[in-house]
């Protein structure tokens, strides 16, 4: 085990796979010589050279197009879209091309690629650089959606995403880049589509993702001091979705709270709430409660942003109120 930051785990995950497979290539804006605007790809250019680690123009459609065509013809590209908000600029490539090609061609076209992107709020960057858009991706058939909450998962899930034969949208959380954690040395590959249960309790279950995971864990600790024991599930991957774990952990406690950074409407919480309600209705002691960002663009100043995204306090209060 090594102590790595979340950002270092990104570079390590990519490096592990680039060493293994010469056909893994990496492109994006300022990812090479500069090591990325979040410094998450430092060292890759030096190790793998300009043929495999490539600085592109500001051309998000060309970046994803090039990645797609390369994936169709033998390479394993990793493309960075600097901020997940910018996926909107090249959304056509994601949803209409990359996600649909295999299906539309009856399996002829294969698109094994990874799109990495910095997702989420907390950096005071304002509404165009802070969104959590993993729900957008979940709504699109044909693309896998992964969002790790800690350095070890970053390395293991990124490696799995690169090895996956299908396109994967990999959401790194920009407010976690500085987070430190234990990461296995040597080859580390996880399986996509497995949630992880971080803590177990009898009273309620929380399902969270990415930056909401440490907050959920913290909330659980506070609740424990008040005599409420909650299970915390880190979803890790929205597609494929580990409904087995989510349903099992919900049934055990009879109560489910989802904690998501998505704005209120049509977030992934609504999907999980709907699945759980449909499939475990008679096992629920109370309705599923979604804790979300309100349905507003994200404001930029510290106090406003902090009050908008779900906080530890809000999680605790919401659970207390509903368990009271």
């Amino acid at each position: 085990m090594a102590q790595l930051t979340y950002r270092e785990a990104v570079a390590e995950g990519i490096a592990q796979e680039m060493r293994r497979d010469n056909n893994v290539v990496f492109l994006g804006e300022d990812i090479a010589a500069a090591g990325g605007v979040f410094k998450a790809t430092v060292g890759l250019f030096e190790e793998f050279g300009e043929k495999r680690v490539i600085d592109t123009p500001i051309s998000e459609n060309a970046i994803l197009g090039a990645a797609m065509g390369a994936a169709m013809t033998g390479l394993k590209p990793i493309a960075e879209i600097m901020f997940s908000d910018f996926l909107a600029v090249c959304w056509d490539m994601v949803v209409n091309e990359i996600a649909k090609a295999r299906y539309m061609t009856n399996g002829q076209v294969k698109v094994p690629l990874v799109i990495r992107t910095a997702n989420g709020g907390g950096s005071r960057f304002g509404a165009q650089h802070s969104q959590s858009v993993e729900n957008w991706a979940m709504a699109v058939p044909g693309i896998k959606v992964v969002a790790p909450s800690n350095p070890s998962d970053v390395k293991g899930l990124l490696a799995a995403a690169i090895r996956d034969p299908d396109p994967v949208l990999f959401f790194e959380h920009k407010s976690l880049y500085a987070m430190k954690g234990e990461v296995p040395n040597g080859e580390h590959v996880l399986e996509l589509g497995k949630a992880s249960v971080l803590r177990q309790g009898d009273d309620a279950t929380i399902v969270a993702l990415a930056a909401m995971v440490p907050r959920a864990v913290k909330a659980a600790e506070i609740l424990a001091t008040k005599g409420i024991e909650v299970t915390v599930v880190d979803v890790r991957s929205l597609v494929p979705l580990d409904t087995q774990t989510i349903l099992a952990e919900t049934v055990k406690t009879g109560r489910l709270f989802t904690v998501e950074e998505n704005p209120r409407l049509c977030g992934w919480g609504s999907e999980i709430s709907s699945i759980v309600t449909e499939e475990c209705f008679y096992d629920l002691d109370a309705p599923v409660i979604r804790i979300t960002t309100p349905h507003v663009p994200l404001p930029s100043s510290d106090n406003l942003e902090d009050a908008t995204i779900p906080t530890v306090e809000r999680i605790v209060e919401t659970i207390l109120k509903n368990m009271g």
């Binding site: 051309s59 390369a70 013809t73 590209p77 399996g107 058939p141 979705l241």
Partner: protein, 329 residues
């Protein structure tokens, strides 16, 4: 056929144009018979472009085309019955009936797909050019698109990146003078929507007569030589004209009669036939070839007609590499 057939390339160009022409005519007929559903964008009148490039390229090369992509897929060698079957939504379809007319693809023939959202394929084409460059193969990528497509952002991004990376890719703008129903001049800042933009990417301005298969073929050869030599992309504007409306729904009434007549008088296939005869082919030779190709189309039509509709099972197939569509465990 007689011995004096001469030039193999001419023969191939004529044959390829005929195949394209007869296929499109059949697609049109089947549409009128209501055997082809949805929509249908025919390249009748534009066959010389697909043929010229198709004949000039290598079998291992890659191509990308549009919703108007029947002929571009055919010229790569995609088999006729599955192509017609796809238009008809049959089980034998080249996409199993899942894609339809706008998405014809035959990866085994290097036909990497037909793309129905304007401009996307120009960016995707960068990728196979990049992989060929990376892997050190000599494969060149050709990407077809219309005049109207030169005004969308992806055109610009693709051309710039191709030039910067010196990719082996040839951008073929088929200028048929219309973006759907709108004359291209009404929505474009320059006279030649492709050629007048080439310099913005450090490329030569190239215009060819897109109704002359030989001219297209030679331009293609030059571009391929350049690409294979590592000298990067080319942008070639081919002036041509479609014989029908934009798609099934369009009678094409917005086009001036004289314009239509002038272009029909320059029908690529009639012109090429005349040239073949000037070059010593006999009417008999050519008629024989024509009959043969027409027969191919007829036989394929029968095969496709006999094919059943797809099994509903395939709805849940091939979203993922494991063959299925499961998004949960």
């Amino acid at each position: 056929m007689s011995e004096n057939m001469g030039n193999k390339v001419s023969l191939e160009l004529y044959r390829t144009q005929l195949l394209a022409r007869y296929f499109e005519q059949r697609a049109s007929d089947l549409f009128l018979e209501n055997l082809v559903k949805g929509t249908n964008h025919l390249a009748l009148g534009q066959e010389a472009v697909a043929a010229g490039f198709g004949v000039a390229m290598n079998k291992s090369d890659y191509t990308y085309c549009t919703y108007r992509g029947h002929t571009h897929t055919l010229v790569r060698g995609a088999p006729v019955a599955p192509m017609l079957g796809e238009l008809m939504g049959r089980e034998c379809g080249i996409l199993g009936g899942k894609g339809g007319s706008m998405h014809l693809t035959s990866v085994e023939h290097g036909a990497m797909g037909s793309y129905a959202i304007i401009g996307a394929q120009l960016c995707i084409a960068l990728g196979s050019a990049w992989s060929a460059q990376y892997l050190g193969t000599d494969q060149v990528t050709t990407v077809f698109f219309g005049d109207g497509t030169t005004n969308i952002g992806t055109f610009h991004e693709a051309l710039n990146m191709a030039a910067v990376w010196k990719l082996p890719v040839v951008f073929v703008c088929e200028n048929n003078l219309y973006m759907e129903y709108t004359p291209i001049g009404k929505v474009t800042a320059v006279e030649h929507p492709g050629a007048d933009r080439a310099s913005a990417y450090g490329l030569d301005s190239i215009i060819v007569d897109g109704n002359d298969a030989d001219a297209v073929y030679h331009a293609a050869q030059d571009a391929y030589a350049r690409a294979r030599a590592g000298d990067g992309p080319s942008l070639i504007e081919c002036k041509t004209y479609r014989h029908q409306g934009h798609s099934r729904a369009d009678p094409g009434k917005y086009r001036p009669k004289e314009e239509v007549e002038a272009w029909f008088a320059r029908d690529p296939i009639s012109m090429y036939r005349l040239r073949m005869m000037e070059n010593g082919f006999t009417d008999e030779d050519l008629t024989e070839m024509e009959t043969e190709i027409q027969n191919t189309i007829d036989e394929a039509t029968e095969v496709a007609k006999l094919s059943p509709v797809p099994s509903l099972d395939i709805i849940d197939k091939d979203v993922w590499a494991d063959g299925g569509s499961a998004w949960r465990n």
